[in-house]
Symmetry: C2
Subunit: 142 residues, 2 copies
DNA sequence: ATAGGGCCTACAGCAGGTAGAGGTTCAAGG
DNA sequence: CCTTGAACCTCTACCTGCTGTAGGCCCTAT
């Protein structure tokens, strides 16, 4: 039996985050001590590690929920898990592509700026006037 | 004089977002019609375009606030604007690097999976056991 | 028996918006 | 001039994925 602090330390997850996962139904409600404190089994530790590792790979919580469901029913076909992972891969690739476009634009902006005063600052000029941009970065940030 | 809808259409910003920018002090409070509707000047349109463009380049709102302040005082040195842009460039490069590590891991995961059932699914296996990973992706998502 | 760490609930807040309810205003067509 | 209906108004709640705080209990070692 582990306390919440033990799970926290072993998985590198903040205590509040574990309670949050319980609240949104990602972690099961554990048993309690006579005084009302949470007491976890080994299986809960594994589940939390799975969640954390998936988060580190950028999976959104909804996807993790699906992955956990799949993981709980070993006889189902693997294709679903596969497609979730592929979807995540696509998302990551999309974000990389967008960020690379941003990087290019930012680099150009910074490189061009050699004025002294704000009045002739290329950085601000480019921000003021979209038409100075080479790429169409219509998608925001991310 | 423009309505909020005109600003919205011209900059591709949702009406609510413009009101939100006003609320957090990024846009100044415009004049109102006799019936209480917002009426904007050309300068407001420019300012909003600046904000949107900066957001598209991934600048956080705080940075944009600084950039707008700088832009309003043309005699100050350009170095500050420069360093904000450089900081943003570093952030973007960091995020690209992290996402590339994720991509690598996800690709490997997806490529290795050729099992039929969940029981032997490499995707789930890797998620279960961090030690199967090549890289140390301790930073979460982003 | 007591000290002090760890645990409890509940709520507020972060970025950066988005969505909806319920009500008013504006401008064009009849 | 009047009506219609799109566009505007405020207010509030919600989104993701947590994190922090307040105020109070539990648990275990000494």
């Amino acid at each position: 039996m582990h306390t919440i602090g033990t799970l926290s330390a072993r998985t590198g997850t903040k205590v509040q985050t574990i309670r949050y996962y319980e609240q949104i139904g990602l972690m099961r409600e554990p048993g309690r001590s006579s005084g009302g404190q949470r007491r976890y089994h080994e299986a809960d530790l594994d589940r939390l590690a799975f969640i954390r590792h998936s988060r580190q790979l950028g999976f959104p919580l909804d996807a993790i929920r699906e992955l956990l469901d799949l993981s709980d029913s070993p006889s189902r076909p693997c294709a679903e898990a596969d497609s979730i992972a592929r979807r995540q891969l696509r998302q990551v690739e999309l974000r990389i592509a967008r960020l690379q476009a941003l990087r290019k634009e930012l680099k150009r902006m910074v490189a061009e700026c050699d004025g002294d005063s704000v009045a002739e600052c290329r950085v601000l000029e480019v921000l003021r006037d979209h038409s100075e941009c080479l790429t169409e970065h219509e998608e925001i940030g991310a």
